[in-house]
């Protein structure tokens, strides 16, 4: 074969030599989000620390004053606690006291400082109960609670909160206690103490709060349609004011937090139990108003989430 005859097929082959780049189809996952969560979000709350700060052991027949490590003073008269039905409890009783001071505490109790389109700024949140040999006791008389406050605000209100299905955590304004500024002598410090005084007739969760006006701003978190309050909890944790505000399940994977004032700094957190004991979570720091959020909860161990909440 001569050179001329070679030239033809060689030139033909050369024309078929484009700069080929090898095919590739690569995906590097960063987040993995469950599409159809089937868990129960209650397991997330059950895993949180809900132990009381202090359990006082007192005699119900004599009056006494309880003082917490933060200086909260609880003045209890004799025979204040009674068994269900009305008779006063005799002998020694136990009083568990928990001051809800952190956002972790609020979340652990599934609280939400939200009143429809209003929100609460907490001054004192506490949870307390009395029991005798495992039997819960009721209040038969009002109890006065005093706590020091360095920066007194306006007119506080006492609200009692409770968790109930299916409406979730609800607040009811106390009918007995007005919150007022006062000065008293601290049994430990001895000097005069300025703070608030409130009278309550209920155990459980109560809060002396300042209710903020309703606003039109809202936060929205959009998930896949299978996400609901059954398997998912979404919070805005106001780090400036220490308020945990739960988003409302609006259906079809949409969670809404209405009535939020502008300029609030905080962290939005979502947690879902995709399948039994497999939790996915995500969070994001925002300042209101903030555009809609499309969380991508990724799998995390619960202690990691709890530690995050404790850090706020």
């Amino acid at each position: 074969m001569t050179l001329k005859q070679l030239l033809f097929p060689v030139s033909a082959l050369l024309l078929f030599l484009p700069a080929c780049e090898k095919e590739r189809d690569e995906f590097t996952p960063v987040d993995s989000v469950p599409l159809y969560p089937r868990g129960q979000i209650g397991n997330f709350f059950l895993g949180m620390d809900q132990a009381p700060d202090t359990v006082f052991t007192v005699n119900n027949q004599s009056g006494f004053k309880l003082r917490s490590h933060t200086g909260v003073l609880v003045e209890i008269e004799p025979e204040t606690f009674g068994i269900p039905g009305g008779a006063p409890a005799e002998g020694t009783i136990h009083i568990a006291w928990k001051e809800i001071r952190t956002l972790y505490d609020q979340v652990s109790r599934r609280m939400s400082l939200r009143l429809d389109n209003q929100w609460m700024r907490p001054y004192l949140l506490f949870e307390w109960s009395a029991h005798q040999e495992g039997t819960p006791l009721e209040l038969r008389k009002p109890v006065v609670i005093k706590w020091p406050e360095n920066q007194p605000a306006g007119a506080l209100q006492l609200w009692h909160g409770q968790w109930s299905e299916p409406s979730g955590f609800t607040w009811n304004l106390s009918s007995t206690g007005g919150v007022s500024l006062s000065t008293w002598v601290d049994p430990v410090q001895g000097s005069g103490t300025n703070g608030y005084l409130v009278s309550t007739d209920q155990t459980g969760i109560s809060g002396a709060v300042l209710v903020e006006d309703a606003r039109t701003d809202s936060l929205q978190a959009t998930f896949f349609p299978a996400y609901s309050k059954t398997n998912t909890a979404v919070y805005f944790l106001d780090t400036d004011h220490g308020s945990a505000l739960a988003f409302r399940d609006n259906g079809a994977g949409l969670f809404i937090l209405p009535g939020l004032p502008a300029g609030r700094n905080g962290r939005v957190v979502c947690v879902t139990e995709a399948i039994r004991y497999r939790f996915y979570s995500s969070w994001k720091d925002i300042t209101t108003p903030s555009p809609g959020w499309e969380p991508r909860p990724t799998e995390r161990q619960l202690p990691v989430v709890y530690e995050m909440l404790r850090g706020l």
């Binding site: 078929f16 189809d25 690569e26 996952p29 960063v30 993995s32 599409l35 159809y36 399948i275 004991y277």
Partner: protein
Amino acid sequence: MMSEPKKYQMDDLLRQRVKDASAPVPHGMWEKILDARRNQRYYPVSWIGFSAMVLVTAAFAGWVTFGENRTHADLPLEKPGVEQTHESLERPTASLRTAEKDLQNGFSAASEADRGGAETPTRDVRQKAAGQISRTNRASGESGQIENKAGKEVARQEDIRPSSATGDRGITVSEALMSGQESAFSSSLQDENQVLARSKDFTGEWTVLERAKPSEVVAHSQGQADLPVPPFMAAQQRRSSPSCYSFHTFLRGLSVDGYLAPEYAIRQLVYKEPGMGEYAAMRDETESYSFAFSAGFRANAHFKGGLALRTGVVYTDIVEKFRYADPDAEVRRIITVNIDTIYNPPDVIINVDTLSIVEYGAYDKVGYNRYRFYDVPLLLGYELDRGRWIVHINTGLMLNIGTSRRGQILDPQSNLVSIHSGENSSYPAFRSKVGSSLLMSLGFNYAVRPKLHLLLEPQFRVWMKPLNLEDYPVDQKYMNIGLAMGVRQYF
């Protein structure tokens, strides 16, 4: 004195009246303008252009073929079939020479017998002359030679060219004359009656003889020039071949091409709605030409004058690189989740469940989209012979009989979708048949052997319709420029 400017009172009046006049823009004017723009699709080559190209090619071929009285000696093909045709076409001239020799050798007696009578020989005269030829040759070659000399003079005076109303008849005369010559020189081997019978046959076809000019005859006898071919013979040469190839009075031969053509595909995306401009730009950004080629087999019918018709099967493949990167892509899949492990020595029980998840991450893809076309060409060509080279121009239609695709594109919602023609989930953007496309080419054949040519053919092809369905918001059209390389085998 300066002339005063003319005053146009009517103009002034109108100017005053319409000075502050205004009219609102008609409702929907912009929509109409946009519609008009949208309808102004850009088709680089239209049917008019194609028709013009065909006409020009045909006119050029016709002019070259019939306008210059080309003979078969000028035709481009050098193939056996054509060579036979050439030989056949040469026969009348050879026959003429043979006839002249016959006349010189054997018709002298007939001419002498007829010299005093009519100029046109009758059958009886020719039979007598033939018999005399046989007898003379059998008796003595020398005397025959003498007789031939005498006859040669007679033939010069009488006639040497057959004049036939038709070519076939003329050729019959020629063959008969050749037979007459053969009989005259093999008289010792054949019977006189046989010779007479064969002479009778040819004389039966001999109808008219024309005179040649004395000067031509003299020049020819001296070997200085061939006898001129009369006009009727030239026409006969154009019209037919005397051999078995007379069936192909217009067809000169057949050949087949096999070729491979690297091509460059020029793609055009034309959006139909103003809102789809961004989508078209996105597709242009993610898809780019990689390479293209065609491969085909063509059967060629070569006709007198250089015209050719071609048809066959052509496969075209346009390959485009698809490059897509999404830093926030999502993939859905089902994973198996270990939800519990129970240690019960020696057994370990693991409870598992499945979970549907969506994975988000960075996606990087480089792929090649392939658009395949299966076409039947119908081409008209014209060929020019230049020694070992044949130059030809071609134009015609490529009738699409099917397409297929493979690969992925972005849909108008920026989703990555498959265009694989074999999948049910394929995005419905493209048609299964794309109609016809136009092809124009200029070919060069080089004869490496008499029957085998190398083929080099630059081609230009344009699809008349877009590849996509009507509902798809962007028209995807192609023009291909290629260089076909292959071989042509003549039969």
